[in-house]
């Protein structure tokens, strides 16, 4: 079974802090994704990576950066957390096939920025 793990289920941070969210997958997937989920807005793509050290902006990259130094690990960084970044953050991974393949999700990190 594919397993995608996220470093924290719940996180509370102060405005201005640097926040690291870690995601690890164990299925040798090429693609990894970070989404945020807010009520009424569904899932919105922040960044994705299709290979080590490669990244592409999603729909809402402002205020975020990412790092992919190893194939199995994809980190989301909030350089200076703000209250409007309070949200549920979901990591996912997939094979890089000819077309868009099934994505496998982690359990999510609920981040509260005070």
């Amino acid at each position: 079974d594919v397993k995608v793990t996220q470093s924290s289920r719940y996180l509370v941070k102060r405005t201005g802090e640097k926040v690291f969210l870690e995601c690890v997958q164990d299925m040798d997937h090429e693609n990894m994704f970070w989404y945020r989920q807010d009520p009424g807005l569904g899932l919105r793509l922040i960044y994705f990576s299709y290979d080590v050290k490669m990244k592409e902006k999603g729909d809402i990259p402002e205020g975020y950066s990412v790092s992919r130094e190893k194939k199995e690990r994809f980190s989301l960084i909030l350089e200076s957390a703000s209250t409007n970044q309070t949200s549920m953050y979901l990591c996912a991974s997939s094979f890089r096939g000819k077309w868009q393949e099934t994505q496998y999700f982690g359990p999510g990190t609920r981040l509260l920025v005070l």
């Binding site: 995608v4 693609n31 989404y35 009424g40 807005l41 569904g42 899932l43 793509l45 994705f48 299709y50 999603g58 549920m88 979901l90 996912a92 997939s94 890089r96 077309w99 868009q100 099934t102 994505q103 496998y104 999700f105 982690g106 359990p107 999510g108 609920r110």
Partner: protein, 112 residues
Amino acid sequence: SQQGEEDPQALSIQEGENATMNCSYKTSINNLQWYRQNSGRGLVHLILIRSNEREKHSGRLRVTLDTSKKSSSLLITASRAADTASYFCATAPRGATNKLIFGTGTLLAVQP
């Protein structure tokens, strides 16, 4: 605006009844996928239907795809209380390699 729009936003049924959710989208797609999310958890993939397929079954799930109307439906037959969750459609736009675009979801409540 969202590529995938689910309808209805919320649905409440009795155990044993069927539940139908619809998804409409705007652009050409390679495939369409349905996911389930239990409260406060990650999403779980349910079924994928490719653009050249019209209907697909998996257990109690039936998915249809009408590319001429740019719409899909998910039918859950003989629902159970454990089916209570949010259901999302995700479209794989043609030309947008590797990305899925998720809708805002349908919240299904199955009353025991």
